[in-house]
Symmetry: C2
Subunit: 355 residues, 2 copies
């Protein structure tokens, strides 16, 4: 029987350390390891771990190692009896496919820092951040609920996505932007090689755009290797789109230039902020046929239609052939989620606005 408030953490860098601090702040006991024993000791000293070690009685085990080693670590831990394992890697489809286990739930916190190491870890790194989970047809419902509840404890907002969809999206809003920032910085560096003072012309906009390029490059070969296809696809589209901009500028096509920049402005100003704290909540009970993938379908559907699931519980009927998924969402979104679920063939057994 696992201890519901005990977690094991494998990898105690910036992200792992911050998870340890945030879980302990939320009342969890946390043990953990790092391939570098000194780093694990430092995590204990920093308050991110109660003790060095791995405990299969942990309700949740989090792998916070570089992307390239996640699958092997996760398989090792599941084999050693850890019931529920998640990770924090930037690429999900290859890892989820390689682990291939009901107890594994892929995860990716959309938060970070140009800094690195346990010394930069903070308990509030994930407050209000979006944290992607990638359930699939194989995922065990209770494993998902366990990971989800722990991430809410960390202060983050959970968004469920299909693993491949996640990878395509982060190529676009994270991986390629990062490579582009580094490329812009390199171009300026090449020009200014002998005249560094000229980079004084780099004002706030350029500094903002290239800030991520100051981060440690060590994680990128793994990320680019694992998410190669999606990154190459987005790079191709970016190169095409910049080629279009070149044509527009070379041809002095003022109207087209304005149209391109107007689209970008509208998109940037309406970039969704964090989910607000809903003033009023509603509850929806969905009958879940005991077939693989129902939970993944319901949760990723909510993401696609922009419904934030504030809480999720799974109640199994005594017959065991079906369960009930209890979803707490913003009251305003209750009808929207209801209709979308019914359209997909789910039975909504109960719906109410909570007082």
């Amino acid at each position: 029987m696992s201890n519901p408030r005990l977690a094991t953490l494998v990898g105690t860098g910036l992200i792992g350390g911050s998870i340890g601090l945030a879980l302990r702040r939320a009342g969890w006991a946390v043990v953990g390891t790092d391939r570098d024993r000194e780093r694990a000791d430092a995590a204990v000293a920093h308050g991110a771990l109660d003790a060095v070690g791995e405990d299969p009685a942990s309700a949740l085990t989090i792998v916070a190692t570089p992307v390239g080693s996640v699958a092997a670590e996760a398989r090792r831990l599941l084999k050693a009896g850890h019931p529920v394992v998640t990770d924090v890697g930037s690429v999900k489809a290859p890892v989820v496919a390689a682990v291939d286990h009901p107890g594994f739930v892929g995860g990716h916190p959309m938060a970070g820092s140009e800094q690195e190491g346990i010394a930069a870890a903070t308990a509030d790194l994930f407050d209000g951040a979006t944290w992607v989970l990638t359930p699939t047809a194989l995922t065990d419902d209770q494993a998902y609920a366990t990971v989800r509840a722990a991430i809410v404890d960390l202060g983050a907002e959970v968004v469920a996505l299909d693993p491949a969809r996640h990878d395509a999206l982060v190529a676009e809003v994270s991986h390629v932007p990062h490579l582009t920032a580094a490329t812009l910085m390199r171009l300026a560096d090449d020009t200014a090689e002998e005249h560094r003072a000229l980079l004084r012309l780099a004002a706030g906009g350029f500094r903002d755009m290239t800030r991520v390029a100051a981060g440690h490059p060590g994680i990128w070969p793994d990320i680019c290797g694992e998410n190669r296809e999606a990154i190459v696809d987005v790079l191709d589209r970016l190169i095409d789109a910049l080629g279009e901009v070149r044509t527009v500028v070379a041809g002095n096509d003022r109207d087209r230039l304005l149209a391109l920049l107007d689209q970008a402005r509208a998109a940037r100003t309406s970039l969704p902020a964090r989910f607000g704290r809903p003033s009023e909540l509603g509850e929806l009970r969905v009958v879940v046929p005991d077939r693989p993938g129902a939970l993944a379908e319901v949760t990723t559907l909510a993401t696609e239609i922009d419904v934030n699931i504030a809480n999720l519980e799974i109640a199994h009927s005594s017959e065991g052939d079906r369960g009930v998924l209890i979803l707490v969402v913003e009251a305003e979104a209750l009808g929207r989620l209801h209709d979308a679920l019914v359209e997909r063939g789910f039975i909504v057994s109960h719906q109410q606005v909570l007082e």
Copy 2:
């Protein structure tokens, strides 16, 4: 005879309004106009102008209108008897060539805001910012000294550059980065068109990179028109460089990827900050033959070798055939500037560390 503490300001948007506020803070009287009379009245109400109007007795006249109209405005004002005119446009070579007058000094403050209009204007917008001036062989020395002193009053650091060199550099650290930010934002927008919630995956790095795309597009057709050649050149180099990144990612060339990112990281972390307040100053007196371009040569040379000129004065000899340029620089840079000037054939008549 001009009034040494009176300025005329033409154009009272965000930049013009901020200049008015900062000049008045420094004790200048400021009159000004805007093609939209209501905006000029608003500038008076906001405290950016003492009164609406243009006064040829102004020691300095600043054109803060969109790039496309600067040259015509500057010529009109010089013809009307304004002795010294400068501007704040993002492109310099075409404007400087079109005005073609000893009393015109091209300028470009490397500061701004995604906001616009007089309401967003602040007196401290330029504090510590880099402000480029583009003297040429035609530039009158006293006109340059007047503009330079006023900009120091605004709180900015003056950097002298050749107009074409300025345009090539800002294409690289401002114009193309801006177009790239807008393009990244558009790509993400195209993908997420029906699923805006997916843009929740856009974390801090992407938000930082695309922030400039939220600015008003209205200024960009002029900028891209005036600086077309340099922008197209940088876009070509960016597209090539991204093509190289694509090849590296597609080929999973980890070493080359690390090398590219390492170069970017080193460049980003050593991006020069603002010039520090020097603890100790030195003075250099340079004999300036009374030939065109000497001042432009001395000041742009200082920029190229990363020497910040803290103060600059021009003393003319009684014979009138030559002058002395008095430069105050950081004591540490005294020898470097001395040697570079001597190498170019200038005579340094005096050099001392100031107490």
